[in-house]
């Protein structure tokens, strides 16, 4: 168990060292400690649900010619804001890069940047799913109305789920 906790701590630290996440994620964790259990997981669940849908919509818009730059920019703006709000540093930076290319009229560049963005988003999701899965394994004494696997947590928020990760 101690090995698992060490592994979790190292995994978490790597998110910051690799600049996948920034201090905003740390703020969310601290807010959870202020008496709002499961705040981080709930936030991330909503984020990944909405951002995944948004990415699909953006992709359709970028692939449909003629491209509507204002419409695409608005969607990227939303994605930038929500990504910044969870501390998704690399995703946010990829969004900024894509926006700049769209604004500059470089359509091929924007498409390539968008694929990088999608890959980074998928990478973040995979890493956080694993992280919360391991956290759950490290805290078997959590109270739960219904245990839900981490991958489901980050895909689909179910009404009425309340979990505490204190252990």
């Amino acid at each position: 168990m101690e090995n698992l906790r060490q592994q979790i701590a190292e995994m978490r630290q790597s998110f910051f060292d690799e600049e996948i996440l920034d201090k905003q994620f740390y703020q969310l964790e601290l807010l959870e400690k202020r008496g709002n259990p499961n705040f981080v997981e709930e936030v991330l669940t909503v984020y990944f649900r909405e951002s995944t849908t948004l990415l699909q919509t953006i992709e359709q818009a970028i692939e449909t010619e003629p491209i509507e730059p204002v419409k695409v920019d608005r969607m990227l703006y939303k994605l930038k804001g929500s990504s910044a709000n969870i501390g998704a540093n690399k995703v946010r930076n990829n969004v900024t890069k894509t926006r700049q290319l769209v604004e500059g009229g470089n359509l091929e560049g924007a498409k390539a940047a968008f694929q990088e963005l999608r890959n980074e988003h998928a990478n973040l999701r995979a890493k956080l799913e694993l992280y919360f899965q391991q956290l759950r394994q490290a805290c078997p004494a959590e109270t739960a109305s219904r245990p839900v696997p981490a991958e489901v947590i980050l895909h689909d928020a179910r009404p009425g789920d309340h979990r505490s990760r204190s252990c």
Partner: protein, 158 residues
């Protein structure tokens, strides 16, 4: 299980501070704040997630919150007589954008603290939002280094 804290001070972090002010680099710190008074806030953001998160953050600090998803709804709410100690308003909003909504809210005599919290980062956008009447221009996310001093001021702790 308590999450392990990141090592060190996580490096210097950029903080946007408005008031016509300049970009500042400050080390990130988290200072506890306990509000002595009832404070209310309105969150104006067209993105569902951002609206929920910013409300959640304000509620975690003890504020009572409301939210609307467009600038026109914000103006109507204020026009109806609703009063808030703090308004967080995004720049790009449906129906009526944040700059114009801010202008109209200020024109109604609302003098509460307004933070323009936006994913825009350009100097032109910053100047436009400040000129419209926000007190602070904040590039998302709204971090504690900006929010906590504002809350202290509103709560009379300064």
């Amino acid at each position: 299980m308590a999450s392990a804290l990141p090592s060190g001070d996580m490096g210097a972090a950029e903080a946007n501070s408005g008031n016509g002010g300049q970009m500042q680099k400050k080390p990130f710190t988290f200072n506890e704040i306990v509000l002595r008074n009832r404070l209310t806030a309105l969150v104006v953001d067209g993105d569902n997630f951002c609206r929920l998160l910013e409300q959640g953050i304000l509620q975690a600090y003890g504020l009572e919150t409301q939210s609307v998803n467009n600038g026109d709804a914000a103006v109507e709410l204020i026009a109806s007589g609703a009063k808030f100690d703090l308004i967080l308003i995004d720049m790009l909003l449906p129906i009526l954008d944040g700059v114009e909504a801010t202008r109209r809210i200020r024109a109604m005599g609302m003098r509460c603290k307004m933070l323009g919290v936006t994913a825009c980062s350009g100097e032109r956008e910053r100047q436009a939002f400040l000129a419209a009447g926000v007190d602070v221009f904040v590039e998302k996310p709204l971090g504690p280094e900006i929010l906590i001093p504002v809350l202290r001021e509103l709560d009379g702790q300064v």
